[in-house]
Amino acid sequence: MTRPARSIAAGWLTPSYLAPAILLIVAYGVVPFAGSDYLLDAMLTPFLALALAALGLNLLTGYAGQVSLGSAAFLAVGAYAAYNFNLRLHELPFLVSLVAAGLVAAAIGMVFGLPSLRLRGFYLAVSTLAAQFFVQWALTKFEWFSNNNPSGVIDAPPLSVAGLTFSGAAGRYLFSLTVVAVVTLLAIRLLRLQVGRNFIALRDHETAAKVLGVPLLRTKLLAFGVSSFIIGIAGVLWAFAYLRTVEPAGFNLDRSFEILFIIIIGGLASIRGAFLGAAFMVVFPLLLSRLGAALLGDVFDSGVLEMSQRIVIGALIIGLLIAEPRGLIALVDRLAERVLRRSPRWFRRSTQF
């Protein structure tokens, strides 16, 4: 994002798209065939869903500077909305349900974004908790949302788009990957438009932005809307591709914090940061627990190990914030720069995206 703007048509052809292109080729061409079900189902699919949610929150918090602690609520709205569209309007193609669910989440997000017009900082952050608690309450309270299931649980139907059924671990992964790739691309495009620049102006100095003629009200609500739209879509992936059975309790405050963690750890105002942060938050605890069990499993019981991991993760988060408050992405960039200083020029250009 730091490169000078250039025409899109030319942009597509430059080597700066090489790295993401290679990543995508590996993600599509190699991973589904080489990865085990465990890797796909338990690591990559939740990683994709969380990364998308983090991307959504990053637009709001990282780019537009509005802090939200209610992300999990919008995940829930997306999941339950898609479920109901799918259930009640049978003839609706799934992709339409998906987008409609995002739109519902966007609408709810804009409502809960209204306080941003008067509040900022932690006052705003805490008031977004209202969304968190209200949505969970409403989904539990009104049984209509879960089709009168006495337990408030929804079972997601199998994924199928235009006659293609995405069953099995690889299918669900590929579906998620496609949705995430498309939405990410759209988000990048959006940030290059005037709207994106307005977001950043709003974040950097609200009053100055106002003086410069940025429509504050519209921009703020738009930020909440777009962010919630993306988080809502992530919620659909979470419910339909990853867990496949969800209950309102799964979208609790801890989940909201997790998403916030992802963008802070990964790097605010960075698309890649959302992905790096999500990888860290999803993969690292799993690795740590497997490592702990393998090395110390015979010495301590699983409870002791688990609590030690909690301490390690907490300490690591603090350590990371101290070492690099701008997040993993800044760390990675610094590292890459050091390596690249000794590499040919074309390669250098190809890796900055």
Binding site: L119, W137, I264, I311, I313, G314
Partner: protein, 296 residues
Amino acid sequence: MFDYQFFIEVLVGGLLSGVMYSLVAIGFVLIYKTSGVLNFAQGAMLLFAALTFVSLAERGVPFWLALGTTLVIMVALGVAIERTVLRPLVNQSPMTLFMATLGLSYVIEGAAQLLWGTQVHGLNLGIDDVPFELGGVLISQFDLFAAAIAGALVTAFALFFRFTRTGLAFRAVADDQFAALAIGLRLPRVWAAVWTAAGIVALVAGLLWGARLGVQFSLSLVVLKALPVLVLGGFDSVTGAIVGGVLIGAIEKLAEVYVGPFFGGGIEAWAAYVVALGFLLVRPSGLFGQKLVERV
């Protein structure tokens, strides 16, 4: 026919519950006021304090000794947090600091359970909780006691900040960090004092809440009760925390009893936020919060 007696009973019960919210909120305010950190680890500190006290008491340590030991541990914890977490992060954005305290809460929760186990404990402070009636209105003895303790704590802090050098430094830092720094105040020392104070608040709140809920993991969730109080009262006002807490307590209970039935009950979880928000739309920095001045 409106049942006034019942109304007053709910109101009084709510006001007294509110005092308990204030107690947690004060811990937040102390730290926010001086360092701009929303310390989410307050709940974990509360759990840690209560768990340490109860575990000592259950091992046969006499009450006052256990209290003293826990106090010393909490002070040490407060100072250690300031040294290892806050000082290296000085001048970072509020969001980064908030996240660091979230990480901190993981560490403290893990350590508390690793040290003392995951068992639940009862905590008896020796106050009977049998109700008594005052003009037909039921009043809880324990709640009155808790209110008295909270009152004493706030008075003690007020005196401390009014009449001691550290207190004066605290107020100077709260008013203007840079000015305080310019006249040669040592910020780290003030911060250490503040984190110590937060540790003491955590201990008192932990014991009182622990006596109500039992000492167990869920104790750390009481911070959620303090957040709407902060929004209503202002993040940087001790008075706001007290008045806000009492108001939120009363509003929450009245809403649940009188408005709840129209929604099928259980609205307490968000009613407090809605009320606090509605209020903020009128006064964006809370009841007693400092007004922000914008400059271009």
